[in-house]
């Protein structure tokens, strides 16, 4: 089981690195916002793996809060884009 946890963590870390590549390179602001949303989703998965690894069930509350914050952040980014904020593309 330890090997499985380490493998899952390393795969999710690699996924975080790839999403970070898109955050840096993304040609426009909506691309970066989508990559940040992917960030929050992957971090939720990492928190779930950490809950299994440490045996502390309270990590699920952290996952709930991260899900809420990611959803509200993407809604806020979308409102900001539609209202015509500054863009760099």
């Amino acid at each position: 089981m330890e090997y499985v946890i380490i493998m899952a963590q390393s795969i999710m870390g690699l996924a975080l690195l790839l999403a970070f590549v898109r955050v840096v390179r993304g040609p426009s602001l909506p691309d970066r916002a989508v990559a940040l949303e992917l960030f929050s989703t992957i971090v939720m998965g990492l928190v779930g793996v950490q809950a299994i690894a440490s045996g502390v069930a309270s990590f699920l509350d952290v996952a709930i809060v991260i899900a809420l914050m990611g959803f509200l952040a993407s809604i806020g980014f979308a409102r900001f884009l539609e209202r015509g904020g500054l863009r760099d593309d």
């Binding site: 089981m1 999710m12 992957i42 779930g48 299994i52 699920l60």
Partner: protein, 134 residues
Amino acid sequence: MIDLLKAILLLGGALLMLLAAVGIVRLPDLLTRMHATTKAASLGVNLTMLAVALHFSDVGVVARALAIILFVLTTAPIAAHVMGRAGYFVGTRLWSGTVKDELRPNYDPLTHELKSGQEPRQNVERPGRDEAPE
């Protein structure tokens, strides 16, 4: 048996997240990137939370894990829809191999007016949109 199932769920969830990340790096367009991330990553979170529910097998923990799954399944399409709408309004370029954009001939990005494409002729060509209707 439970351990094997947990291992399969954890690795499947992690691989789905890796698939979403590869998709967001490799795909050429905002909409195709969203198509990769919003489905694969939310399914990865769901598999991981199922593994957590199997690992603890306690009523409160299972209820919280199912609540997370329900929340993700509810909010991921809403967030994707809102982001895609905002991206289209901002005017991000579509991929050069895009076959069909059905919104382009019928939609006016300045006034946010959407036509059905079946109006009678005088309604389409009415001059002076800014004038007050009589």
